[in-house]
C-alpha cells in the first residue's frame, strides 16, 4: 500500500513532526528514533525535538488514555517508542544545558505492597520525558527523604491501595514540613481508594486519578515552578 511507504526523510519539518505524533500513537519505536535523528540533522535543537515532536505526541496519547480511547497496553507501547527517542536526546540535552523535564522519586508507602498502579505511573512519566527513580514497594519516610535529596528530585510520588496505608502519606508530608523542605518538592499522591479531598487533607499538591493525570499534573506543576523561577 502506498500509505505504508512513508519516507520520513522526504517529509517537511511540519509533516514529519505530525507523522512522529502518529508514530508515537502507534508505538513505533524505530520510526521515532529515525525521526529524531532526521530533525537533529536538520539543525533542530534537542530541546525542540523533545518538546515539539515527542512530548507533544505523548500529550495526545495521554489525552486519549484519559478519555478511555486508548488503554494501558497502547500507552505503554507509545511510552516505549518515546523512550527510544529519549535515549538519543538525553546526552544531547545534558550537553546543551536544556531545561530538564524534571525528576520524580516514586514508591508505594510503608505497609503497601500493591505496585501495579505505581509502575504504570513510573512508565508513563518516563514516557513523557521525566527521569524516574523507582523506590519500589513498602517505603518508610527516611527512604523517600534520602532519595529526594540524593537524586535532587523535583517531584515526590506516593501510592497506596489500602485504606490502612493511605494515612502514611501524611506522615511523609509532615516530616518534609518538620524539616522545612516541603516547598522544595511537588508532592503527588495516587491509588484506588484515594480522592481529591484526601489529597488536600494530608497536604499533598495534588491527587492524581490515573497515570495520565499524573503526567499532566506533573507537567503543569513543573511549568509553574519554572515560571516562578524566571519571574
Amino acid at each position: 500500500m502506498a500509505d505504508d511507504d512513508i519516507i520520513l526523510s522526504e517529509l517537511s519539518d511540519d509533516d514529519l513532526v505530525l507523522q512522529m505524533h502518529d508514530d508515537l500513537y502507534d508505538g513505533l519505536r524505530e520510526e521515532i528514533e529515525e525521526g529524531v535523528g532526521i530533525l537533529l540533522e536538520r539543525g533542530w535543537s534537542p530541546y525542540d525535538v523533545l518538546t515539539r515532536a515527542l512530548v507533544a505526541g505523548m500529550t495526545i496519547v495521554g489525552a486519549d488514555f484519559r478519555d478511555g480511547i486508548l488503554f494501558v497496553p497502547e500507552v505503554l507501547l507509545a511510552a516505549n517508542a518515546m523512550k527510544g527517542g529519549m535515549a538519543i536526546l538525553k546526552p544531547l540535552l545534558i550537553a546543551t544545558g536544556a531545561p530538564r523535564m524534571g525528576k520524580m522519586v516514586i514508591g508505594t508507602v510503608k505497609g503497601d505492597i500493591h505496585d501495579i498502579g505505581k509502575n504504570l505511573v513510573a512508565m508513563m512519566m518516563e514516557g513523557a520525558g521525566f527521569e524516574v527513580v523507582d523506590l519500589g514497594i513498602n517505603n518508610a519516610v527516611e527512604k523517600y527523604l534520602d532519595a529526594l535529596e540524593r537524586e535532587g528530585a523535583d517531584i515526590l510520588g506516593m501510592s497506596a491501595l489500602l485504606t490502612t496505608t493511605m494515612p502514611y502519606m501524611k506522615v511523609v508530608i509532615d516530616t518534609l514540613k518538620e524539616r522545612g523542605i516541603r516547598e522544595n518538592y511537588i508532592v503527588l499522591v495516587g491509588g484506588a481508594p484515594l480522592n481529591e479531598e484526601f489529597g488536600r487533607a494530608i497536604g499533598a499538591d495534588a491527587y492524581c486519578r490515573d497515570a495520565a493525570v499524573a503526567v499532566e499534573t506533573a507537567k503543569s506543576f513543573i511549568l509553574r515552578k519554572h515560571n516562578a523561577l524566571n519571574a
Binding site: 505503554l76 516505549n80 513498602n138
Partner: protein
Amino acid sequence: MSDALSRLLATRDWLMADGATGTNLFNMGLASGEPPELWNADQPDNIRNLYRMAVEAGSDIFLTNTFGGNSSRLKLHNAQSRVHELNRLAATLGREVADAAGRPVVVAGSIGPTGDIFAPMGTLTHELAVEMFHEQAEGLKAGGADVLWVETISAIEEYKAAAEAALLAGMPWCGTMSFDTAGRTMMGVTSAQLAALVEKLPNPPIAFGANCGVGASDLMRTILGFVAAGTERPIIAKGNAGIPKYHEGHIHYDGTPELMAEYAVLARDAGARIIGGCCGTMPMHLKAMRAALESRPRGPRPTVEDIAARLGGYSSASDGTGDEEGPTRERRGRRRS
C-alpha cells in the same frame, strides 16, 4: 463432572462464594506490608478462622489465602522459594475446614495476577507466566484444593497463561477479571471480550466472571454484559462492599450489609450462578447476602437503570461494549498494513 464445584452447580441454582481476604486478615492483626501468604505457615489458626468465618456465614465456596502466592509477588518479600509450600499449606488448612463443615464446601485455590506487565513493554512472557502459575497450581493441588480460582486479572495474555497452567496441573478452574476502568479492565478488556475468550480456550473454565473493580453497580453492569454475550457458562459475581469513602478523617467501604444483600439478589436475578464479595466484604455482609438469596423470590433480570436505582450510579457512562474497536483518532495514513 468429577469435581466438587461442578457437582454443586448441578444441584443448586446459585452458590455463595466468600468475601474479602485482606480486609478480614487486617482485622486479625496482619501488619500492613507483610505478605498475607506467610501466615499460612506462621499463623495457621488465623487462616483457619478466616475460612471458618466464610463457611459459618453461609459460603459454599471459599478462596485460599494465596492471592499473592506466585513467585513474582513473593519475591518482593524474598519468599520466592516458598511458593509450593505456602500454597500447599493454605489449601491443606482449607481442606480441613471444608471437610469439617458438615455440608459440601468447595476449596478454591486463589491465584492472583503476577503484577508484571507482558513484553514488549514489560518483562513477562507467556512461558514465564505459565511457569509461575503452574508452580502455584501444583502447590494448591498438593494441599487438596478442589478447583483453581484465578482472579483480578486484567490482561488477556495473563488469563490465557493461567488457563494453560490449570491444564498442566490437571485441575478444573474458574477465572475472573477486574473491570475497573470505565467498564473495562485496566488493559482494556470488555465483558464481551472475556465472554468470547473463555469459549476459545482449550480448557474453558467451569465458571468465569468479574471480581473487585469499582463497587457493586459497576460490577453488576459487567455481569449484564456477560449475559448479553449469550454465554451458557456459569457466571461469577464477586463485587466489593461499596467504594472506599473518605469521611471526616476516616476511610471506610460504604457498602452496608443491606446493600450487599440487594446486590446479591440482583446478581442472581441477572443470571450469575456464583455470587460473593471482594474487598470490604465481611461475615456480616455474607450473612445478609445468604439470607436474602434464600428468602427473596427470583425476580426479572434487572436493567442497568434498575441497578442504578437500587445500588447507586455508575463510575462511567458506558461499559465499553459496543464501542468501535481501537483508536478513533483521525489519522494521516497508516504505516502498518
